[in-house]
Each structure stands twice: as structure tokens, then as C-alpha cells.
Symmetry: C2
Subunit: 156 residues, 2 copies
């Protein structure tokens, strides 16, 4: 068997075994990328970056929380969160205050305008979510969420 032939056989085997378009992790990453892009519309108009929006979203669900909690709840780096909070504060959407119990902690809370901003963006985000799940019926949607949860369990 020629070297050429051997290579072709090996390739054929790999083509069956590894096709990028059928590689689940890649598809999820790609889908996530598309999501980010589509969602960006919802906050681009509000001049928010992705990290800012994420901080806004988690902060909206608590009275006040420490930056480290944002890090825990979010796939973002310490530094990214730190910057996002600083920026939200500069824009008047969030406040920072040192915690009384542990003065290392920077407690973050949203201002009135911050909450209003969150509400605007959340509305649009939910509309988007709805539109992209439109291809699925109610059962499929529930199922998808369920399967997603199982996968998250083994990865996150």
C-alpha cells in the first residue's frame, strides 16, 4: 500500500469519526457565539458591553452582592467583573459600598436608572429568547431545557 493510499484511508476513518459540524461541543460553542451576537443588539443600543449586562442581570436579582459573587455566578474573570462594575458605576447604573462586616468586599447594588435599564434590556432579551425557541413546540422546549440541565451538570 502506498503512503498516499495509507493517508487516504486514515483520512477516511477520521472523516467518519470527526466532522466538525457534527461535533457537539463545537456546535454549542458556535451557537453560543451566534446568541451573543444576536443578543448584542439588545444592549448595544443601550451602550452596554456583555460583561456590563451580565453584572446588571445578576445585580438585579439581589439587593446587593459582592463582586466575588458575580464572579461565582458568571463565566467571567475577576478582572472583567471588576471593570464592568467600575464602568456601571461611572455611568450611574450601579453603586459600590464597602461591606460593614468584611471591608474587603465591595457590595454592588443598582441605582434606579440601573434598574430601569435592566428592565428595558431584559424585556428585549426575553423577546429574543422566545423568538429563537420558536422552532420548538412547548414539549420540545421543556425537553431541551431538561437535557441542557443534565449536560450542565457534567460540565459546569
Amino acid at each position: 500500500m502506498s503512503a498516499e493510499k495509507a493517508r487516504d484511508d486514515e483520512d477516511a476513518a477520521n472523516k467518519r469519526a470527526f466532522v466538525l459540524d457534527q461535533f457537539a461541543p463545537y456546535r454549542i460553542v458556535r451557537l453560543g457565539h451566534a446568541m451573543s451576537g444576536a443578543l448584542a443588539q439588545a444592549y448595544r443600543e443601550e451602550n452596554l458591553t456583555i460583561p456590563e449586562w451580565r453584572v446588571l442581570a445578576v445585580a438585579a436579582q439581589a439587593d446587593a452582592l459582592a463582586a466575588r459573587d458575580v464572579v461565582a455566578k458568571t463565566p467571567m474573570d475577576k478582572m472583567t467583573v471588576s471593570r464592568a462594575i467600575a464602568s456601571l458605576e461611572a455611568k450611574g447604573f450601579a453603586r459600590r459600598a464597602a461591606s460593614a462586616e468584611d471591608r474587603r468586599l465591595q457590595m454592588v447594588s443598582l441605582t434606579q436608572t440601573g434598574r430601569a435599564l435592566f428592565n428595558r434590556v431584559a424585556t428585549r432579551a426575553l423577546a429574543f429568547e422566545k423568538s429563537f425557541l420558536e422552532n420548538l413546540n412547548a414539549d420540545e422546549r421543556a425537553l431541551f431545557i431538561e437535557l441542557l440541565a443534565k449536560i450542565e451538570e457534567s460540565v459546569l
Copy 2:
């Protein structure tokens, strides 16, 4: 009703409506992020960046293809692809040659070492895919892939 009270009511409504952890697009983005991280192991040891690995993967599935084709098949910027190809070439994993028909095109193909590298990484990548789908049984896996395809349809 006080302004305070009104705000709380509004917040309560929004908490029900928008919880980041239950927001599907966010969950997918987060999962994708985790995937990337986990997969990184597979090519970090080979000194590959994510874009390089992606180019390798699509190039492995064709004899030769133009850079623009890589862009089309991949959620990557023109420039990112250009750089990844240049780097793969510098490392001896890929070759570039101007197309005879259209001299604007840079046809990319893998070298022997490039293919060998791809095979090594692909093997590890598939093992990872398997491990992360482990929480699902065969039916669930098939179902998940099917639902994923439907969602891709409406987003990609």
C-alpha cells in the same frame, strides 16, 4: 402606593420574568464557554490556539480550501482565520498556495505533520465529547442533537 413599593413590585415581576440562570441563551453561551475551556486541554498541550485548531479541523476535511471557506464554516473573523493559517504554516502544519483559477485565493492544505496533529487532537476531542454527553442515554443524546439542529436553524 409609595415609590419604594412600586419599585419592589416591578422588581418582583421582573424576577419572575428574567432570571439569568434560567435564560436559555445565557445558559448556552455559558455552556459554550465551559466547553471551550475543557477542550482547550486537548490542544493546549499541542500548543494550538482555538482558531488554529478550528482551521486544522476544517482543513482536515478537504484536500485544500480557501481561507474564505474557513470563514464561512466557522464563527471566526476574517482576520482571525488569516492569522491562524499564517501561524499553522509557520509551524509546518499547513501549506498555502495561490489558486490557479483565482489568484486572490489562498488555498490551504495540511502537511503530513498537520494531519498527524489533527488526528491526535481529534481523538482527544471525541473522548471529551463522549465524556460530557455521558449524563445522557442514547435516546436523550439523539434527541438533544435533533433539538440543537432545530435551534441552529433559527439562529445560524
